[in-house]
């Protein structure tokens, strides 16, 4: 086990470890963060939801956006899978359909970062729990 030899050491260590705990820290206050729910039912997974979810988790972290990415069950839009729901703080949640990695990238850059709407929004006729 590496010894922590100085305060600088400790700080470096903390920075490295923090990302591991990030998920827990963020879940303390999900309302203040960007919440993304990825539909992960069989249909979603079959159409690549898993990859999209991983992409979203990694990229939002890389781009310094405080997000909580969770999975959810089938949202009922099987025709448009993978679907994700993005909930910006203080705004109504918006559901995007047919989200592939390219689309996800676009959603991050345009909608999440700047609030610009992008194509593929599915009108909300469904309300998720809480």
């Amino acid at each position: 086990m590496a010894k922590v030899k100085s305060l600088a050491d400790l700080k470096r260590m903390k920075d490295a470890l923090q990302s591991k705990m990030d998920l827990r820290e963020k879940s303390n206050d999900p309302e203040g963060l960007v919440q993304i729910k990825v539909a992960m039912a069989t249909c979603g997974i079959a159409s690549g939801a898993k990859e999209v979810m991983e992409f979203l988790i990694e990229e939002t972290a890389k781009r310094g956006i405080r997000t909580v990415v969770t999975q959810t069950g089938c949202m009922g839009y099987c025709y448009a899978e993978p679907t994700i729901e993005v909930h910006l703080p203080g705004k109504e949640p918006i559901v995007f359909g047919d989200v592939n990695i390219k689309k996800a990238d676009e959603i991050i850059e345009k909608y999440i970062k700047n609030g610009e709407l992008v194509d593929g929004i599915i009108p909300v006729n469904y309300k998720t729990l809480d």
């Binding site: 590496a2 903390k14 820290e25 999975q71 069950g73």
Partner: protein, 597 residues
């Protein structure tokens, strides 16, 4: 380093472990493995979440879903539904008892709404056996800051400015205490953590040690730095095996990381910690008694002065603080005294952890800002009285405290207010009582405890408490006289006035406060030979109302002493000479035919 998409936190506090939280952890892990999700989901056993009433608790992150009363056999469903399908398992979610609303995120629950977690900041959040998780949450940063950027005096000044007062009961300003210990020059000094939580019905210190042991180690190191000590001792009850294990793990890890030992963080500061075990003596919570116990002696207190700051463990300057006090220190250093002293009331800063128990809906461990009212704690956090009964009293401060009533409910809780109304903060036990609790019996219960725990060194505590108990016993048996009430009061006052240590100086509080607040109840026992709460066995009789009894024989079959007779389908009769008043018959009767007279 692997990054999990989801974390499942399981409460590993003693209460939840008693309800098989370990088995839940194992089953969850197996289910995850079966689904091939090992890399995606991390299962962590944490310290206490506080909501013991609803334990065992499982929390799933990042969506912060709070599952209650989980059983090992629920594990598979949780994984299948929540983790794989992303659907919450509704039947395991918390239901608000008032409006029957399902709440999945704990912070919307009444129990958590008013809480601010400082001392408990990491409990139920990190794996207490993983130092990395503590470091990730600013762990040891406060120690680092002290060693690199602050002098011992500036640290002391910061603590003084924070207004932190000892959480063990007395409420002595922590910064001042540290300063005294720092000012005494000696070749050897000690920092002692008092983890001998003996108050029956209080378990906050244990929860902190079980859930966040490093915060205490870090604070002890900071204290040692201010006073020039290089050795720390944790005096912990042997009855806390889990806390002991967690502490041992934490000490080992901290040593491996070099956060305990020589030249900590390259500062030249040396500090290490050893464990000492209590052996079941409440009086050892008193610091001089605690020190004697650590020295291998009978845990008898000695007169102060000399204070431990002058002459403590092995005759050397020693600073003793309790667990919760220490747990506050790293936060104060990290966030600053001015952040801390904005929380709380004028003379009591910060928060206080309480073990909320008794006849209350939400039993558990809570942390609220000083100045929160008893009403908020009992009705909002505690969810009110169990089974819709009527609130009668709340006892704070354990055997040293008093019983407070309806009229005190809007008292903001802090050191001075509680003292002013005849109780005290104590270590943080808070027991709620309802209309079925007899206050004379309550006082007797506490005195029984004091009599058992008195060390026997000084006369008033050794003999006086015994006599108090005997008088109370006499009253509950219906043999009391009005003169006894005067005797109780005089004796209580003298015991408080003349006892050697805090135990005797506070032991009559349950008597005095019930005399003050429930005088009529005493009179009812003495004059009417009646126990209004129906609790004093000698003053009551179980009777069967022949009008209501249908002769189902259920009572007779459940009577442990066979004192109920009667033919099937005919009214039954209780032989009061044989009845042991256990109440089993009344519990079983479906026709409300049995009552107490």
């Amino acid at each position: 380093m692997e990054k999990y998409k989801m974390h499942i936190l399981i409460c590993g506090g003693t209460g939840c472990r008693a309800s098989a939280s370990e088995a839940i952890q194992n089953n969850l892990q197996e289910a995850i493995k079966a689904k091939g999700l090992d890399d995606e989901v991390q299962v962590v056993m944490t310290g206490c979440f506080g909501f013991c009433e609803k334990g065992p608790i499982v929390k799933i992150l990042p969506d912060n879903t709070f599952y209650v009363e989980v059983k090992p056999e629920d594990a598979e469903e949780l994984i299948e539904e929540h983790i794989v399908k992303g659907r919450k398992v509704m039947r395991l979610l918390y239901v608000d008892p008032e409006n029957k609303e399902v709440i999945s995120d704990s912070k919307h629950m009444g129990f958590y709404k008013k809480q601010i977690r400082i001392a408990l900041r990491n409990c139920g959040f990190i794996n207490p056996e993983n130092l990395d998780e503590y470091i990730a949450r600013d762990g040891y940063a406060a120690l680092g800051k002290c060693l690199a950027e602050m002098t011992p005096q500036t640290v002391i000044d910061e603590i003084k400015e924070s207004g932190l007062r000892g959480r063990g009961g007395g409420g002595f300003p922590t910064g001042l205490k540290w300063e005294f210990a720092a000012k005494n020059i000696a070749d050897q000094k000690y920092v002692v953590c008092n983890a001998d939580e003996g108050d029956p019905g209080a378990f906050m210190d244990r929860s902190i040690l079980e859930g966040d042991p490093h915060s205490v180690l870090e604070a002890m190191a900071i204290c040692a730095y201010t006073m020039g000590a290089d050795k720390g001792l944790i005096y912990i009850r042997a009855e806390y095996p889990l806390a002991i294990t967690r502490l041992k793990v934490a000490i080992k890890q901290a040593r491996e990381y070099g956060l305990l030992g020589n030249d900590i963080l390259g500062s030249g500061f040396n500090f290490d910690v050893e464990m000492r075990y209590g052996a079941g003596a409440f009086v050892c919570g008193e610091e001089t008694a605690l020190i004697h116990s650590m020295e291998g002696l009978r845990g008898e207190p000695t007169v102060k002065p000399p204070f431990p700051a002058e002459s403590g463990y092995n005759g050397k300057p020693t600073n003793v603080n309790n667990v919760e006090t220490f747990a506050n220190i790293p936060v104060i250093i990290n966030k600053g005294a001015s952040w801390f002293n904005k929380i709380g009331s004028e003379k009591s800063k910060g928060t206080k952890v309480f073990a909320l128990a008794g006849k209350i809906n939400n039993v558990g461990l809570i942390e609220v800002p000083m100045g929160t009212t008893l009403r908020e704690v009992i009705y909002e956090i505690g969810g009110g009285i169990k089974d819709g009964k009527k609130f009668k009293a709340v006892q704070t401060g354990g055997p040293s405290g008093g019983c407070l009533t309806e009229k005190h409910l809007d008292t903001p809780i802090d050191f001075d207010n509680l003292l002013a109304v005849g109780s005290m903060m104590g270590s943080g036990g808070m027991i709620v009582m309802d209309e079925d609790d007899c206050m004379v019996s309550m006082a007797k219960f506490y005195l029984e405890f004091t009599v058992e725990e008195s060390c026997g060194k000084c006369t008033p505590c050794r003999v006086g408490n015994k006599r108090l108990h005997e008088i109370l016993d006499k009253i509950t048996l219906g043999n009391g006289t009005k003169e006894d009430l005067d005797l109780l009061r005089n004796l209580s006052n003298v015991i408080k006035d003349t006892s050697l240590c805090g135990l005797g100086q506070t032991s009559p509080n349950p008597v005095l406060s019930t005399l003050d607040n429930f005088y009529d109840e005493y009179l009812a026992h003495i004059v009417d030979h009646r126990c209004p709460a129906g609790q004093c066995k000698a003053l009551m009789q179980y009777v069967i109302d022949p009008e209501l009894c249908v002769g189902c024989t259920l009572c007779a079959r459940n009577c442990p002493v066979d004192c109920i007779s009667g033919e099937r389908k005919e009214a039954h009769l209780i032989d009061t000479s044989k009845c042991i008043k256990c109440g089993a018959c009344m519990e079983k009767c479906k026709f409300n035919a049995i009552s107490i007279q």
